[in-house]
Amino acid sequence: MNFQLSEEQEMLINSVQAFVKKELLPHEDEVDRQDNVSPELASDIRQKAIKAGLYAFNMPIESGGPGLDFISQALIERELSKCSWALHVNVARPSKILMACKGKQIEEYLKPCVAGNKIDCFALTEPGSGSDANAMNTKASKDGDDFILNGSKHFISHAGYADFAIVFAVTGTYEHKGRSRNEVTAFLVDSNSAGLTIRRGPNCTSNRGYHTFELFFDDCRVSSQKVLGETGKGWDVANDWLTAGRVMVAANCVGQAQRALDASLSWSANRKQFGKSIGMNQGISFKLADMATEIRAADLLTLYAAEKMDLGSLSDADAGMAKLFASEVLGRAVDEAVQIYGGMGLMDQIPIERMWRNARIERIWEGTSEIQRHIISRELLAPYQN
């Protein structure tokens, strides 16, 4: 087992750190306070990310991306996450599901997303179906050569700024263990389609400036040319990439936790009470030791999963363990960071309270902690089932 990063990976880390420090972090305060990223700033970051070669760094060479290994991708995620999502989302990672594009879809959707000419969003969750995604209500019924979509989605990140949505809708049902299950199809739906209304969702505690939207489909006509993958095979296109995406979420959590630890270390060393640095007390220094140990473990678990992706042997549980552990470690790390900072930890003059707020989403999206445990335990118990 080799834990040594390559020279390129080290350089990549340095470049991304410089990018975050120079192009993203200076805006974090204002974006958080105003709960908004101006279109000019978003476009400026996008252009700079394109120039730095970081835009769509998650995509393979055949679709115009750099074709990085997954470890390198995880390392980039880890560094980008040392700044709010609201900003680093503009260093776009198009949905990998777009790799299922075929024929004209490649030129119309996949390539423009990689080149930075189009923005995608991922529309799965509905008010009535979150963790139980297959229970969705949005329906797509066949009408000649088209499908007619009816229903609604919510919590859809950045849909208001996207050119199109990857929409999941029910196109039929089938029997599974004596129960009727939805057969789901993925569609590429342009944001300006007739019959689609996109509305800003409620304000969110985490990642101010990064908004979710609600999508309403009212007899929205979509050509069958816009089916992503095959009709009825929506989960086939989604599942592999949802699993892989969880490893990147884990890397993101590790980066956020490292940022909280770095801040905590310097505060512990510099803040004096009772005539000495607070870090001289075991009550504080042991917190630092625990944070650092847990973050190291989360990092290794994440890189292990990334390595398995590179080897083509990632299991659902590998990704689930990394996402579960890293997001929970992050939760503990930011909470301890607030404690170490004392009252200042809750004040909006410094980024600690922001890190604390931003961390909370990570245990919820891309599959909650409970769902990850469900996935992990299902895989563990599989050999015992007959």
Partner: protein, 249 residues
């Protein structure tokens, strides 16, 4: 035109420097190392000259231990074309560096040598000047602006009390000041390309240079800790303390 750019590996400028407990130097184990910021500026300037069509090839040179290869690789990822690594574990003084660089200069015959005005470790600010003396080249030190006009370089220098602009014959050596430019970070495609660029490995003996240190370091110590200040009640108390305690007036 070829441009030679020496790059030095130093402790990262954002790292807290700690003195070794035996007082023989500063701690470098497990400490993040980076390219000297003034050398980064030198590489950036060379790349800009190349992008402006004023230079064809940029050669990054580093003299020092095996890890200096990483520093050269960083220069290659920023945009330098090839590297020369002079491998040695010796402690390096400015004169030794200048002598090795002078030999490389003779071999490569560049139109310009651009280097940092100093490295942030020793803060010597000598290598460029010594190199100019050894090679008999014109020198433009502390540059905050460089223009190439035919076979002359117009260099704006940061001097005490303002800016001085000089016009010097090329080949020349120019040392960089902080305000010359803002170095780029290596782009992802360039990082990938850097792997394929060549780094030639040499030793000081290849150049017939004796690099043994001429100075002996007796002791390295931390600067004395500053005492906390006090508040004085009145101007007369201040004057009294300045006169009788500080002895400055």
């Amino acid at each position: 035109m070829k441009i030679l750019v020496p790059v030095k590996r130093v402790i990262d400028p954002y790292v807290n420097i700690r003195v070794k407990s035996d007082q023989t130097g500063v701690e470098t184990d497990n400490v993040k190392m980076s390219m000297n910021p003034f050398c980064e500026i030198a590489i950036e300037e060379a790349i800009r000259l190349k992008e402006a069509g004023k230079a064809e090839e940029i050669i990054a040179i580093s003299i020092g231990n095996q890890q200096c290869q990483e520093t050269i690789r960083t220069a290659l990822a920023m945009g330098a074309d090839r590297g020369i690594h002079v491998l040695t574990d010796e402690i390096l003084e400015p004169l030794a560096l200048a002598k090795v660089l002078a030999k490389i200069y003779e071999e490569e015959k560049p139109g310009l040598v651009i280097m940092g005005k100093q490295a942030i470790d020793g803060d010597n600010n000598q290598t460029g000047q010594m190199f100019a003396a050894l090679t008999d080249l014109a020198q433009g030190t502390f540059a905050s602006k460089i223009d190439i006009e035919g076979d002359m370089a117009v260099v704006t220098r940061e001097v005490d009390g303002g800016l001085q602009t000089i016009k010097i014959n090329m080949p020349a050596v120019i040392t960089t000041d902080l305000r010359l430019n803002e170095p780029r970070y290596a782009s992802l495609p360039n990082i990938m390309k850097a792997k394929k660029k060549s780094i030639e490995q040499k030793s000081p003996a290849d150049y017939g240079v004796d690099i043994a240190p001429r100075l002996k370091v007796l002791k390295v110590m931390e600067p004395p800790k500053r005492q906390a200040g006090i508040k004085v009640e009145s101007v007369s108390e201040l004057v009294d303390k300045l006169k009788n305690e500080a002895g400055v007036i």
